[in-house]
Symmetry: C2
Subunit: 228 residues, 2 copies
């Protein structure tokens, strides 16, 4: 799924409410409509969009009534900082039938009563929630450090460059290794100017290149120092 | 900032493009307008929204021209799975002036040349990017395990409960510890029914309660087993 599409979907409050409801339990259209206080026609149109995007799926119960449920595990991460905007979408298709289930089921009967096993799994769920929280905190700290280090790099760049183009080039390369063509495009500069400056920076030991798929990728020189 | 508001903002493609542009470098309205091929009037209205939300801020250069830049570090995480929909927004206000900068600056002059220090910081940035990637992978795995364990719990619930209300209650409590009032609201059941079933489940050792702020919080019983 395209992350932009998911952001478009999540940009609507009613669609967010529908997802929230379905993450609680599978629902019929009529339930969703009454919970949200929104007409069934609008709900059906939102559901259509969500289904098309692969976020939800539709099943039929014994009375042949359609109900909807979340189709997948998805994680969307949007990170905005002065030096980076990233949108990551991770999508884990289930192997519900294949994975774990069968083997774990065997394990129980061999090992212990359902009720004990239930309590253990429940505490595992709690652990997982705590771990998720910890990882989120760690990511926040990383992001803050990234911005701090980047701030610092920009100060240093001003001390080491000999002209404004070099400054722009080092700034671009700090964010990512990249090709001449991309640099020319991003900076709106002629290839000959960019190339001359890249070569000067390389001579002074600031940058180097890799060749991948017959393309030159410029990057900040790696110093081989383990810890800063 | 309200995460719902951020999702509303990110639901618009042009606003996403503006954020992306500003994360590259601070920009004037005219630059944004020409890069996006969107009239300045529309751009100004988007910028107003972004500024109001605290995502960007506006400064004035030496020629008294206004430019915009990202105001903050923000991480938005949306997780959708069959048993959970969570939206987390982390917001790190900068202490750019206070933090690091000054002390680190001193460190350089004492320790080494700007150019060496720049190369070291650059490799630190790379490390941070790699670490961010690793954490994102870990979170994806946690989410998948959460769904798997939850699937499993639901199977076990069916074996251990003696009626459908107990089943609903255990399912709710697996997701979070909660009060009688919230359970009644979520399940649309009368408090007396919910209470009777909670007591039965507690007698059979499945659940217990904590008292916080004079409220009873029901939860799945903790077994005190370290690893499952």
């Amino acid at each position: 799924m395209d992350p932009a599409k998911l952001l478009d979907i999540l940009g609507n409050e009613n669609r967010r409410k529908i997802i929230q409801l379905l993450a609680g339990r599978p629902c019929y259209v009529s339930e969703i409509s009454s919970r949200l206080g929104v007409g069934p026609k609008a709900i059906i149109s939102h559901l259509g969009l969500l289904e098309q995007a692969g976020l939800i799926e539709c099943s039929v119960d014994e009375q042949r009534r359609k109900y909807f449920n979340i189709a997948n595990n998805m994680r969307l991460e949007v990170s905005v900082s002065p030096y980076a905007y990233t949108v990551k979408l991770q999508d884990t298709a289930f192997d519900r039938e294949k994975n774990g289930e069968a083997s774990a089921q065997k394990e129980i009967s061999a090992r212990e009563e359902s009720s004990d096993f239930f309590l253990k799994l429940s505490s595992r769920l709690k652990e997982l929630r705590i771990r998720q929280e910890e990882l989120a905190q760690m990511q926040q700290q990383l992001q803050a450090e990234y911005t701090r280090v980047m701030d610092h790099c920009l100060d240093l760049i001003e001390e080491v460059v000999s002209n404004p183009v070099e400054c722009e080039l080092l700034f671009e390369l700090l964010k990512n290794e990249t090709t001449l063509a991309t640099l020319c495009y991003n900076l709106r500069l002629h290839p000959s100017i960019v190339n001359t400056n890249l070569i000067n920076l390389a001579k002074r030991g600031f940058i180097e290149y890799n060749i991948k798929n017959n393309q030159y990728y410029w990057k900040i020189r790696e110093t081989g120092v383990e810890n800063e």
